[in-house]
């Protein structure tokens, strides 16, 4: 054992099991030999998380979290701080990249059953991370104190105000003022830079430790633990380091090319990453023509707007019901491990209904995303309502179709 060695590392290992944990989580941690590109998003998410932390700390060195100073300090970062523009655009593009990768990472999970027993906790931690990321993104978007920061935050905070009985007081409590003001801004700043990132780091650690306990999956849904060589290494597995770490390097390279292409040449993403009204300081007397969320919230915003009716006899307004359905669209992801009754993991061996369900889900998500960035009209509202149903149906019907559909036999080996 390494800890018995009379080296510096041995001395440390007897006090802190560094080598043991490196072996356990990196150099001897078995991962499936054959996976596809869908399995790269986890590593890329780690990279983006690090970009956000580092650029975020640097932005914090120049940002002012007051109503009077916020917008000007962002201008200052953009114009006067050396490479300030790079820090800010990396951070704002990083936010979009974070969501982009997160959506693919989770869709991979849905396709290949990465949530199935015994990986339920890995999936749950992941869902919590999505929720925290959405909160983090929202809080961060308010900080530049532009027109869209202000009015989008108003829309979201008024959702809390729509909760029956406690709503208006709750909204005032969250805002710390009777209107959205600098008081709200500075508490959002504290949440954005300290509270939510701390929770996210903790959850990433739980996510990865739980994953290493139960083992990573693969597109075939084959259990690699079944067949091992004489050393105990799964026959269809390979150590995470160096096989997967170096395997991910080209992907990280390609990601950086795309990422910096956006940072250098299209940092606002045509108004989808940073919206045009946000280059104008917040004005509480002037609402922008059209309040649209950034692209990554658009599908959920669409669901929120698709609910145009309430339940009057229960005292539920359409606004509040929209809020409930919007919350449910994220909450439903948490229970997927218990909705899937299939005897196979991967979509490759599942039946036709599972495949149709995944296509419908993906199509409705993209359509909702498109609609969420457009102003409403009757036709769009109708399409959004249909897509909302199609978004929920694959999950709500999952216990039925996964149980009765005909599945294929999963091979023994990868």
């Amino acid at each position: 054992m390494a800890s018995e060695k009379s080296t510096v590392m041995g001395w440390i290992d007897r006090r802190l099991p560094v080598t043991e944990n490196l072996e356990r989580h990196l150099t001897k941690h078995p991962v499936p030999k054959k996976v596809n590109f869908f399995y790269l998003f986890g590593a890329l998410l780690m990279v983006v998380f690090m970009i956000q932390v580092v650029t975020g700390i640097w932005l914090m060195m120049f940002y002012t979290n007051t109503e009077e100073g916020a917008f000007a300090s962002v201008e200052y970062i953009m114009r006067d701080v050396e490479y300030g523009w790079l820090m800010r655009y990396m951070h704002s593009t990083g936010a979009s990249a974070f969501f982009f990768l997160m959506y693919f990472h989770m869709f991979r999970g849905l396709l290949y059953g990465s949530y199935q027993k015994p990986k339920e906790l890995v999936w749950l931690f992941g869902c919590f991370l999505l929720f925290l990321l959405m909160a983090e993104g929202f809080l961060g978007y308010v900080l530049p104190w532009g027109q869209m920061s202000y009015w989008a935050a108003n829309v979201i905070l008024s959702l809390f105000g729509a909760i029956p009985f406690i709503g208006p007081d709750l909204q005032v409590w969250i805002q710390g003022d009777f209107v959205l003001s600098g008081i709200t801004l500075s508490r959002f700043f504290a949440l954005h830079v300290v509270v939510v990132p701390l929770l996210m780091i903790a959850l990433v650690v739980f996510h990865i430790f739980a994953l290493h306990e139960v083992g990573a999956g693969n597109p075939e849904g084959v259990d690699i633990e079944k067949y091992r060589d004489e050393k105990g290494m799964p026959l269809d597995g390979a150590p995470f380091h160096p096989y997967k770490t170096f395997g991910a390097l080209p992907a990280i390279g390609i990601f950086f090319i795309v990422f910096f292409a956006i940072v250098f040449f299209a940092p606002t993403g045509g108004g989808y990453f940073i919206e045009k009204p946000n280059f104008e300081e917040a004005n509480f007397l002037k609402t922008p023509e059209h309040i649209a969320p950034v692209w990554y919230y658009a599908p959920f915003y669409s669901i929120l707007r698709a609910v145009t009716f309430g339940i009057p006899f229960l005292g539920i307004t359409s606004k509040f019901l929209g809020f409930i359905v919007f919350a449910a669209s994220i909450a439903i992801l948490f229970v997927v491990p218990w909705l899937d009754r299939s005897n196979v993991q991967s979509i490759r061996y599942k039946g036709i209904y599972s495949k149709i369900a995944m296509v419908l889900f993906a199509a409705s998500f993209i359509t909702l995303g498109y609609l969420g960035t457009k102003p409403v009209n009757e036709l769009r509202t109708l399409i959004a309502q249909i897509c909302t149903v199609l978004y929920f149906a694959p999950f709500l019907l999952m216990p039925i179709y996964t149980k009765y559909e005909k599945t294929l036999k999963v091979p023994d080996r990868l």
Partner: protein, 267 residues
């Protein structure tokens, strides 16, 4: 080294230590061991013909007996201890657990109060959001004043009798005539108080009290016109049909005290 003796039964004894000896029995080919441990006599065949080995086994056996005896003693002692001890009082333990959990919860709740209360509007925010007073005596009939309350422009209109007569005529042209609360939308028969924020996209509607044909309306009887997207409201803030704004201009909480209007306090 060993004394050899032959007793009357013809058994050959080899004395090793006090209470410890080997002997041979007539019909057995093996050495037998004799042990006297604390007055207890133990005898058994050692199943060996070799004297040296028999000796060694005898010592081992003795150790084993001594060790197991002491172990038994220890166990017995422990048993006694357990028996002597009073039984765990689970009711008491449960009561202690409940009270300490409760005390813990109270402590957590107590500490939560300042942290959660810090999120309430501060005194400064409360002062800025407090109700505003406005002196109505200087407002001429037909004039409008703009008062700021919670960052919102509040329109205070002194209605003329002509305007009040005209309001019911517009009942068919507005989306929501609010007949039940009174077409003037006010508890006072002279003054109307409205939030000066267009319900379409929060622009500021302009006050046009004059009764004359306008570019946006041939039969204009006075009201508010929003230049941003052309929403029309009458002098009581009721929204016209066929304009972008969906609802009437909001009425903020307000009350009248003689000639003073207090905005921000409900009637």
């Amino acid at each position: 080294m060993f004394k050899m003796s032959k007793n009357k039964q013809g058994k050959k004894h080899i004395h090793i230590l006090d209470g410890m000896s080997l002997y041979i029995r007539d019909k057995s080919p093996f050495y037998w061991g004799y042990l006297n441990v604390d007055g207890e006599i133990h005898k058994k065949s050692l199943k060996t013909k070799d004297k040296k080995e028999a000796e060694k086994l005898l010592f081992d056996w003795k150790n084993e007996l001594l060790y197991s005896d002491s172990l038994n003693d220890l166990n017995e002692k422990l048993d006694m201890d357990v028996k002597d001890k009073p039984r765990v009082d689970n009711t008491r333990r449960k009561a202690l657990m409940i009270t300490s959990s409760l005390m813990g919860a109270v402590t957590v709740a107590g500490f939560a109060v300042p942290f959660l209360s810090a999120w309430n509007p501060s005194e400064k925010a409360k002062a800025l959001g407090a109700s505003v007073k406005f002196d109505l005596s200087k407002l001429e009939p037909g004039a409008m004043a703009v008062v700021e309350w919670r960052r919102t422009p509040i329109f205070v209109v002194h209605q003329t009798s002509k305007a009040l007569e005209n309001l019911p005529k517009l009942n068919d042209r507005v989306t929501d005539p609010v007949l039940s609360e009174g077409v003037a939308r006010s508890t006072n028969d002279k003054f109307t108080v409205l939030k000066g924020v267009c319900t379409h996209l929060s622009c500021a509607p302009k006050y046009h009290p004059e009764i004359e044909p306008k570019a946006w309306d041939e039969q204009w009887l006075g009201g508010f016109f929003c230049p941003c997207h052309g929403s029309k409201f009458d002098l009581a803030g009721r929204v016209y049909k066929g304009v972008p704004a969906p609802t009437n201009l909001e009425v903020p909480p307000h009350k009248f005290e003689g000639d003073t209007l207090i905005i921000g306090e409900p009637t």
